[in-house]
């Protein structure tokens, strides 16, 4: 684990590169593939039967962008409407959000639009929002047309991509696109947070010692 207390603590990156750290939240209807997108992005894995997210999941991943190292702190959320009341806790202070829908499910697209509205209304005003139409591997069952979603995204100033966590299509790209769009001159530390500790690879942290 590396304690990233200041801007001059590269993490295996070339010396002198800039370090940026952003909080990113994934939102969307349940079972559209939010956790699968994160798993693909962070671990390069895909589980056919990815279990539902209960409570909050938190992961980090670092991407390199030219001379900048961007660290994402990713908050993966439960999709069911019943967990909606927790969402503000997750997106509070987030600089980026990926709103995910399932291209084979019209309702999930509607729900995505509602999430976008909520974020625009309540989240950080400078939040970068990406819309991701997931499950392109199921193109034969498509009900949400690419053009329709793209038009909606343009109207609302969102990044837009169709993705497939299963085939990895566009997964890294959507995160990279967000990284590019995020202002790099922002303070390293997220607002109100200091002495932040980050982990580059999940499950690599040394096992905590028992305090007894």
């Amino acid at each position: 684990m590396t304690n990233r207390g200041g801007p001059t603590r590269p993490n295996g990156q070339s010396a002198g590169s800039k370090m940026c750290q952003f909080k990113l939240v994934l939102l969307g209807e349940s079972a559209v593939g939010k956790s699968s997108l994160v798993l693909r992005f962070v671990k390069g894995q895909f589980h056919e039967f990815q279990e539902s997210t209960i409570g909050a999941a938190f992961l980090t991943q670092t991407v390199c962008l030219d001379d900048t190292t961007v660290k994402f702190e990713i908050w993966d959320t439960a999709g069911q409407e019943r967990y909606h009341s927790l969402a503000p806790m997750y997106y509070r202070g987030a600089q980026a959000a990926i709103v995910v829908y399932d291209i084979t499910n019209q309702d999930s697209f509607t729900r995505a639009k509602n999430w976008v509205k909520e974020l625009q209304r309540q989240a950080n005003p400078n939040i970068v929002i990406a819309l991701a139409g997931n499950k392109t591997d199921l193109a034969s069952q498509r009900v949400v047309e690419y053009e329709e979603a793209q038009a909606y995204a343009e109207d609302n100033g969102l990044l837009f991509m169709e993705t497939s966590a299963k085939t990895a299509m566009n997964v890294n790209d959507v995160f990279l696109a967000i990284a590019k769009k995020l202002p790099k001159n922002e303070q390293l530390n997220a607002p109100n947070r200091s002495d932040r500790l980050t982990v580059d690879q999940p499950n690599t942290g040394s096992k905590p010692t028992c305090c007894n």
Binding site: S30, S52, A57, L59, Q80, D107, T198, G205, P208, N212
Partner: protein, 787 residues
């Protein structure tokens, strides 16, 4: 041959054998230092419906180990002895007796494990007690003869006198009581063998307790005669409400003080009352009785009119009361006196050495034993000579003065830090043979609190889950018979079919609504729940469909609850164990109703849990709490433990360990909130790093997320049990945690666990705290830090 002859012959043979073989055993391991039959427990007020009922039993105190050993007090209800209950007989045939000698090594092993509240250590398969005791033909003969008495027809049709006695009642009743006593004596006569035995070889290092010479034996007949004297009528107390001993008066409903209770002693020399009855004396008195009376006696004591059967048919008592009755009146009560807080003796009649003994645990639970037939002074003497306790005043003074004597037990054993639960490691895992031992021939599960305690501490063999979980999940009552359960199963199965029919016959509109609110998510969740487990593996696995149907039908059954993500995770292991769809459904209903951990984050339930947890952390792990508090609002959201609560640790531990935790929570042993103690234990064991490194709220969540599946569930459970024990020892708890104690069953004690509660302030305006003191409260002492 008359019955008296038969018994006398049996007793003679028995005593010859016992006396002939027991000389060498000088009770190196300790032995019975005191025993008294017909010591009564009176049911709490809500159980006795205004009448004073007596539940007599055999009380004995054994010395554990050598000179500095502790004392083990056991009370075995006569009803259990009558039933030849294996556990009961174990207590009345201690190691030293030749009857037990063949099993000596096992008995010794058992004894070692007994150090506090009674243990369940049956490892042997269910054997008939008679067969076990058959080592001695004579004892078997005795039991058989008693059994014969049970089965004899009633020759006298007159109704048996009531067992309940009140002070207003006539001689007739008192006489009835005596008869009852005699019968019970006959039934506890097995003890006499031991008494015979000990009469010769009892050996006390102190020497002072060895005063039991022959002349101290008071023949039982005399006791009966005394009973018929009006002056000797037992004195009865009715305790209003909860008991409290005088120096820890808590909240004000009770009005019980020694002066209310103790009848002034009359002058006169105190008789050293015999605490055991010689067999000969017993049989001679037995012989002198009218045979018809005897028959009435045994037929009655065998289930006719005894207090435990006095509930009027059709009178439905609520479940709690049933539970209390089973635990308080029909369970063997056994405690290590060294682990208690105090013992009090109240003499109501010093000459006859009558009165009662109040045992108070360190958790401030009480058990009261009524000595209507003497024996109390000798008990006082035994305690007086026991080095682990200090008497409040000289014994003589109590006997001649106010009749009140208190023994405070040395508290050197009280841990100052949160350690393991003292009962840790005492209990075997629930196995099939143990389970069957707790069932009578009709399939009632007896003493379920013991089963639950065993599950709480040691879990169960995995193959038992399918059978036992439905009880833990309230699909069946423990006290139901096999026939009841068969009936219930049938009814349940029909109801389930009806639900399914209802779901499938919804109107188009309802169906759409249902699909949107429930089915859509259920369909997506069941296919990704536990799919790596063999039971749910593979495409088109019918078990997945079964899980789906149960969830959908549950949403029809409880539309207000519907479906919440996470339910499938809770259901899947239950279905995989219980297997039958309708049975699992009923278990699942119980799970949803009975558990606290299934809720949505926005539910009041969840918020209540988190509030308790915050207060708990504040109390027990102040360092960790202060760290969270320093992080601001985010920290105290306790995001890192939302999933722990929602899925009851399913994703934090390997399945085998997680299911152990489920069972431990479902056992509802001493607390209904054991899951919170598990949360606390996780933080206690693994929460050092977030504090040391001052991790942010996000990083703390990440830290605990990364720990999932890498924590040691067994350690966590041990810690959680230790924390529960420690919490229950706290003399005072903050009002914010008061709710945690509300639903605890008192178990074998007469009073529930209810510590003093102290208001912590911090209540919203308009919601005054009932514990708010008139003057500013002193701060509640925090437990010593764990780290």
């Amino acid at each position: 041959m008359s019955f008296g002859h038969l018994l006398r012959r049996a007793s003679t043979l028995l005593s010859t054998e016992l006396l002939g073989t027991s000389e060498s055993s000088a009770h190196k391991q300790g032995g019975i230092v005191y025993s008294k039959n017909n010591v009564c427990v009176h049911p709490p007020e809500e159980l006795n419906a205004g009448k004073e009922l007596h539940y007599p039993g055999y009380l004995c105190i054994q010395k554990e180990g050598g000179h500095d050993g502790s004392l083990l007090l056991s009370w075995i209800p006569n009803s259990r002895i009558r039933r030849e209950d294996e556990e009961a007989l174990r207590y009345i045939t201690p190691d030293g007796s030749p009857i037990h000698r063949a099993n000596h090594s096992e008995a010794t092993r058992r004894r070692k494990t007994i150090a506090g509240i009674s243990t369940l250590t049956e490892r042997t398969p269910a054997t008939s007690a008679t067969n076990r005791l058959g080592l001695s033909l004579d004892s078997a003969l005795l039991l058989q003869s008693l059994n014969k008495l049970d089965s004899l027809p009633i020759s006298n049709s007159s109704s048996f006198p009531e067992v309940s006695v009140t002070s207003q009642e006539s001689q007739h009743n008192t006489g009835g009581f005596c008869e009852k006593e005699l019968s019970l004596c006959a039934l506890t006569s097995l003890d006499s063998r031991d008494d015979h035995d000990r009469a010769l070889d009892i050996c006390f290092p102190e020497g002072t307790l060895c005063s039991r010479s022959k002349e101290n034996y008071e023949p039982f007949t005399s006791e009966i005669c005394q009973q018929n004297q009006p002056a000797m009528k037992p004195v009865h107390w009715t305790f209003a409400g909860r008991l409290s001993h005088p120096d820890t008066q808590t909240t004000g409903s009770q009005s019980w003080t020694p002066s209310d209770l103790v009848i002034p002693l009359t002058n006169g020399s105190q008789t050293m009352h015999s605490t055991s009855d010689t067999f000969d004396a017993f049989s001679s008195s037995f012989e002198s009785m009218d045979f018809g009376e005897l028959n009435r006696f045994f037929s009655q004591s065998n289930g006719g009119n005894t207090p435990e059967h006095e509930t009027k048919p059709g009178m439905k008592k609520n479940e709690d009361i049933d539970l209390k009755e089973r635990e308080q009146l029909h369970a063997v009560f056994s405690v290590d006196l060294g682990h208690m807080k105090s013992l009090r003796i109240f003499f109501s009649d010093c000459i006859e050495s009558c009165g009662h003994l109040v045992v108070a645990s360190r958790e401030s639970q009480y058990k009261i034993f009524h000595f209507h037939h003497g024996g109390l002074a000798r008990l006082a003497q035994v305690l007086n000579n026991w080095h682990q306790c200090t008497a409040s005043s000289p014994l003589e003074k109590a006997l001649e003065g106010d009749g009140y004597l208190q023994f405070i037990i040395a508290d050197s054993a009280i841990p100052h830090e949160v350690g393991e639960h003292p009962e840790e490691g005492w209990y075997p895992r629930l196995s099939r043979s143990l389970w069957l031992q707790h069932m009578d021939e009709e399939g009632h599960v007896m003493e379920d609190y013991k089963i639950r305690r065993l599950i709480f501490f040691a879990g169960m063999d995995p193959e038992m889950r399918g059978e036992v979980w439905p009880f833990l999940l309230k699909a069946y009552e423990f006290q139901s018979s096999s026939a009841d359960r068969e009936k219930l199963r049938l009814i349940g199965s029909n109801e389930y079919a009806e639900l399914q029919r209802k779901r499938l016959s919804m109107s188009q509109e309802e169906q759409e609504e249902f699909w949107k609110n429930v089915q859509y998510t259920v369909d997506r969740d069941v296919v990704r729940t536990d799919r790596r487990k063999p039971f749910y593996k593979g495409e088109d696995n019918p078990n997945v469909e079964m899980m789906r149907c149960i969830l959908l039908n549950f949403a029809v059954h409880s539309p207000a609850v519907g479906y919440t993500q996470g339910m499938s995770d809770l259901l899947a292991p239950v279905l995989a164990e219980v297997l039958d769809e309708a049975d699992t459904f009923r278990c699942f209903v119980g799970l949803m109703q009975g558990t606290i951990f299934c809720s949505t984050p926005c539910d009041e339930d969840m918020e209540r849990q988190l509030t308790f947890l915050r207060e708990f952390l504040h109390l027990v792990l102040p360092e960790f709490y202060n760290h969270l508090e320093s992080l601001g609002e985010d920290g105290l959201q306790l995001l890192f433990c939302h999933r722990w609560l929602l899925l009851c640790f399913k994703r934090e531990f390997q399945e085998s360990e997680a299911l152990r935790m489920w069972e431990a929570c479902w056992a509802h042993h001493q607390t209904d909130y054991f899951h919170l103690f598990i949360c606390l234990a996780i933080v206690a064991l693994y929460g050092g790093e977030p504090v040391d490194k001052k991790l942010s709220a996000d990083a703390t969540l990440l830290y605990f997320t990364n720990l999932a599946m890498h924590m040691n569930g067994e350690h966590v459970l041990v810690k959680a049990r230790g924390l529960l024990h420690h919490f229950r020892l706290m003399p005072r708890i903050p009002c914010t945690l008061h709710g945690l104690c509300l639903r605890c069953s008192p178990g074998v004690w007469d009073s529930g666990y209810m510590p003093a509660v102290e208001c912590m302030g911090k209540h919203p305006e308009g919601f005054p705290c009932q514990y708010s003191p008139p003057s500013p409260a002193s701060p509640v002492p925090t437990l010593p830090g764990i780290c």
